[in-house]
């Protein structure tokens, strides 16, 4: 892919947030989001404080806010759910703009939106300021089982290889005049998925053999 290191969300920089050890950042994110999740729904002032904390961290990291805002689309399905909530929840009803909605539903929708948004914003900040390699080292320092860190390392390393392989297969299909339009075309797509599995698995076997021939004993060398 385009860049030799970093991933799609990573924003290159040299701020104190970028330089902070990854394991501390992961712990900070976890603690912060746990506090946000545990905050009662009607403590509106507390949410302002939470938001101020995230905004301050983003400001220090010097990642452009628009960069993060654009990537908040992952949240959209839950915004839809939150918008529906006041209409389907139970309890006493109240009038908003002439429409009868559930009071508790309205409060829950607010809490869901606030907590979800803060969570996504904080996670995006971590992803934008931490390189995958640092993240893996951080997880290892947090005593995540070594095997799990290795699996994650291989996944991160080959993610672009596998997704571009899938992209090439799509180009191959389309250059032969195929466009998937309805479920009748599923067999073709499913065969592509099958071929992708075989290629990924065989690549895994080749990688393993290459590692063995370089003296792999079950642990990765420290880099």
């Amino acid at each position: 892919m385009g860049s030799p290191h970093g991933h799609k969300l990573h924003f290159h920089g040299h701020s104190p947030i970028h330089r902070a050890p990854a394991h501390l950042k992961i712990l900070a994110l976890l603690a912060f989001v746990l506090v946000v999740v545990a905050t009662p729904k009607h403590w509106f002032a507390a949410y302002a404080v939470h938001l101020a904390v995230v905004v301050a961290v983003v400001a220090i990291s010097r990642v452009p806010p628009t960069y993060l805002l654009k990537r908040m689309v992952v949240e959209v399905p839950f915004v839809v759910f939150a918008v529906l909530l006041p209409f389907v929840a139970h309890g006493p009803q109240t009038e908003v703009l002439g429409v009868s909605v559930s009071e508790s539903g309205l409060l829950s929708a607010w809490a869901l939106l606030a907590k979800g948004t803060l969570g996504v914003l904080a996670s995006l900040t971590l992803a934008a300021t931490t390189e995958p390699q640092q993240l893996l080292l951080g997880l290892e320092r947090l005593r995540l089982p070594n095997l799990l860190v290795q699996i994650m390392g291989f996944m991160v390393r080959y993610l672009d290889v596998v997704t571009t392989e899938m992209h090439r297969m799509r180009i191959a299909r389309e250059s032969r005049g195929f466009t998937a339009r309805n479920p009748r075309h599923w067999p073709v797509l499913a065969k592509s998925a099958g071929a992708l599995f075989i290629r990924s698995y065989e690549r895994g076997e080749r990688v393993h053999l290459a590692m063995l021939s370089r003296g792999y004993t079950g642990r990765m060398p420290r880099s």
């Binding site: 799609k8 999740v37 969570g119 996504v120 992803a127 699996i151 996944m155 997704t163 075989i198 895994g204």
Partner: protein
């Protein structure tokens, strides 16, 4: 679709995290048995494959499309323990590198879409293998049924968790009906794609499909009589 932060209350999130950690611990041991020292590269590559197939869109009708969840597919292709490890890794990477699914909801996501789909999918698949004739052609349909059951099972699991730690005042009956209804439809798509994908792999490399091993082992080596010497 991933559960975000704040959907379930803090105690439930912590509890699901503990369950997920225990399940991953068990899977790490099991995967060692399934793959020995090939675990790291192979599970990593299969996790990348699961991640990629989740980006492969299957058109449904009039512009809408869906994608595979892949729990049952992973279980049938690489075995339940490695499959669970792959799913857990996918969620971990999506959470930390792509901000998809909240970090406090990571346990919930792993439990529902990893542990539940893999466990239910694999049990259904194994049960079907006991009943169905031991033929290679039966592997793909069995995987499809496993996928069909696994998706609504995950939806029911979500309703169960919501009953314990939900943050909004919803009627559980309605939630259960809506979730299971929608996920039954998703399950049908998942079943169709899983059947087709497993079928295409079984046709080319049946030896790679973990769920087909039993069937392959029952094949007998036939030693044919040497050709008659020419007169």
């Amino acid at each position: 679709m991933h559960v975000p932060d704040g959907f379930l209350d803090a105690p439930t999130s912590v509890a699901t995290g503990v369950v997920a950690a225990a399940a991953v611990g068990v899977a790490l041991r099991g995967a060692r048995r399934e793959l020995d020292d090939r675990t790291a590269p192979l599970a990593g590559l299969v996790a990348a494959f699961v991640f990629a197939t989740q980006m492969l869109n299957f058109p449904v009708a009039s512009g809408t499309s869906g994608h595979l969840l892949g729990g049952a597919l992973a279980a049938v292709l690489v075995g339940p323990f490695t499959g669970l490890l792959c799913m857990a890794t996918v969620f971990l990477v999506q959470c930390l590198l792509f901000a998809d699914g909240g970090i406090t909801a990571l346990g919930t996501n792993i439990d529902l879409m990893g542990v539940l789909t893999v466990a239910v999918g694999w049990s259904v698949f194994k049960a079907l293998q006991l009943v169905l004739p031991k033929r290679l052609s039966m592997v793909a349909p069995a995987a499809g049924v496993a996928a069909l059951v696994s998706v609504p099972a995950a939806a029911l699991g979500f309703v169960g968790l919501y009953a314990v730690g939900g943050t909004a005042d919803l009627s559980l009956d309605h939630l259960a009906t809506a979730m299971v209804g929608v996920h039954l439809l998703i399950g049908i798509g998942e079943a169709a794609i899983t059947t087709l994908a497993v079928g295409s792999i079984v046709a080319v490399r049946p030896d790679l499909v973990h769920g087909a091993r039993r069937v392959l082992e029952t094949r007998e080596l036939v030693v044919r009589a040497p050709a008659q010497a020419q007169a």
